[in-house]
Symmetry: C2
Subunit: 306 residues, 2 copies
């Protein structure tokens, strides 16, 4: 069993009220892989420049991430500079340098085509669609996207969404894509595009899953200090797909547990900069928070007596 | 068993994207009583002017609300004019006329002092404190407040908070009161003021309860159309205290179920203007959504297999 991820690999410079870091390991595919590798084997597809520190590739390889799909090409690695103002609740991108990522064209090395689960992180929807055609035997295809593609490549994005099983998006992007302020109504109209489920990321409020027949609403695991929210969404997706890859069957019940695993992995990610909150994390730590989370959210474990 | 509520009784003029209403029944004590009366007997304390339509008092009386504590005095009833812009996520107060409410001084008629549960809706914290001294035998004292009192009467508010069992507040107000952006950290610092639990209202994201030993995180019951959010918070508190008044004992488990009842009653309130969403509501409707809500939120009803 294995999970394929296609997305960005970056060097991030981030400032939050709790400190700042310069050119640390980041990118959607990295956050995803750091999370998923806690559960299962990951096949990573991305691109970096020749300036990318070898230690980062070693880190991924040591976690069992197959990095044959990580192309190293002449030039600079993708760089992102951002800051968070918690008071104002603002995430600000100060600088984006795509560098070698501008010409990224995902190519799957031999063996990757057998990946059972596929996560298309937030990249050009035309590239996402190309990847899908190369993993036609996958059990589950999941896509993320963002406002940039919703506004600029709506038709391509619709094609990709119609070809996947699950869409994972931020709440504001769900509203933008569906042109509906009510998030439930918005999710239902995205379901009409084809996917079986829409999973809405709500940051500190957790996640909401809407399918044709079901809802699942999971709050976020409560944390008293958020050092750096970067990568929360991608590691959420990583925990989710990692758990699902290990599940015997992708049932509605397994999907619920997978969403909880996603929110728990994200709660560890945001406790530190870069992927540092995941470096020494063990499955036992996740299992501990899973039991806590159940205690924090279940309210009626016996027969309803309402 | 009975629940005492002290708060505003108003005539509201409201505009939302789904319509508008003029001088309809509103006010914190009314929304609370309309909700609580679904569960138990309510003793209401408030004030209206001689212009207050008798039909509204009849409506409350027919629901078993004791309105002997609703003073009718010469002058105009409290009026509030507001509008909601869902796109911008803005609640705007266009006009507030306190009228007879400006000189409101809560007086408990004979019998009210035996109320077992007490809800002090959002009024002057000095008045809230006066009420507390008149119901010293209550099993549970709950207070709500708002930014106006946090900014203008901080010391009085601290005295009231230190004398109650549970504080119910909006998320933004919890942050303001505790001067902490992280809502968990903010809630913990409010606990240090004396109450046993802080219940944070998060609107469409539900509610979060923080006590010294426990968390409980409940999302909102998902609704595809919010006609008018006015009164959601007070009817949430109403469902919560109504359920608790019926519970044999106020255990942590009962408090969790009570919070769920609160979010469910609020989900009916916002489906219509004024208290119209609660007029024909029956306990069976609440029980139905309670079972649905359990299905929407529980993810692991057997032993954890994470």
């Amino acid at each position: 069993m294995s999970v394929l991820v296609v997305g960005s690999v970056a060097l991030d410079t981030v400032e939050t009220p709790f400190g700042s870091v310069t050119e640390v390991l980041g990118g959607s595919a990295v956050y995803f892989a750091a999370a998923t590798s806690l559960y299962t084997k990951v096949n990573l597809v991305g691109v970096v420049g020749t300036d990318f520190p070898a230690e980062h590739i070693r880190f991924l390889a040591e976690r069992g991430v197959d990095t044959r799909g990580l192309a190293v090409v002449e030039g600079q690695t993708f760089r992102w500079v951002g800051c968070y103002d918690y008071e104002q609740n603002i995430t600000q991108t100060l600088d984006t340098r795509l560098n070698v990522f501008a010409d990224f064209h995902p190519t799957l090395p031999p063996g990757y085509e057998g990946s059972e689960l596929v996560f298309l992180a937030n990249i050009d929807p035309d590239l996402q669609y190309e990847v899908l055609s190369q993993v036609s035997g996958a059990r589950l295809r999941v896509v993320d996207t963002m406002n940039f593609w919703i506004r600029g490549k709506g038709e391509s994005l619709s094609r990709t969404i119609s070809a996947v099983d699950i869409v994972i998006m931020d709440e504001s992007e769900v509203r933008l894509l569906a042109r509906s302020q009510n998030v439930i109504a918005a999710a239902k109209s995205i379901l009409e595009m084809g996917p079986r489920a829409v999973i809405i990321k709500r940051g500190e409020y957790g996640a909401l899953m809407v399918s044709d027949t079901d809802y699942f609403v999971a709050p976020a695991y409560p944390v008293a200090q958020v050092k750096d929210p970067t990568g929360a969404g991608d590691s959420f997706a990583g925990g989710l797909l990692g758990y699902l890859d290990q599940a015997k069957e992708i049932t509605p019940q397994a999907l619920r547990k997978a969403i909880v695993h996603g929110t728990i992995v994200a709660s560890f990610t945001i406790a530190d900069f870069s992927i540092d909150g995941l470096r020494s994390l063990r499955r036992a730590d996740i299992a501990h928070r899973y039991r806590e989370f159940k205690r924090f959210t279940h309210f009626d474990d016996k027969e309803s007596t309402s």
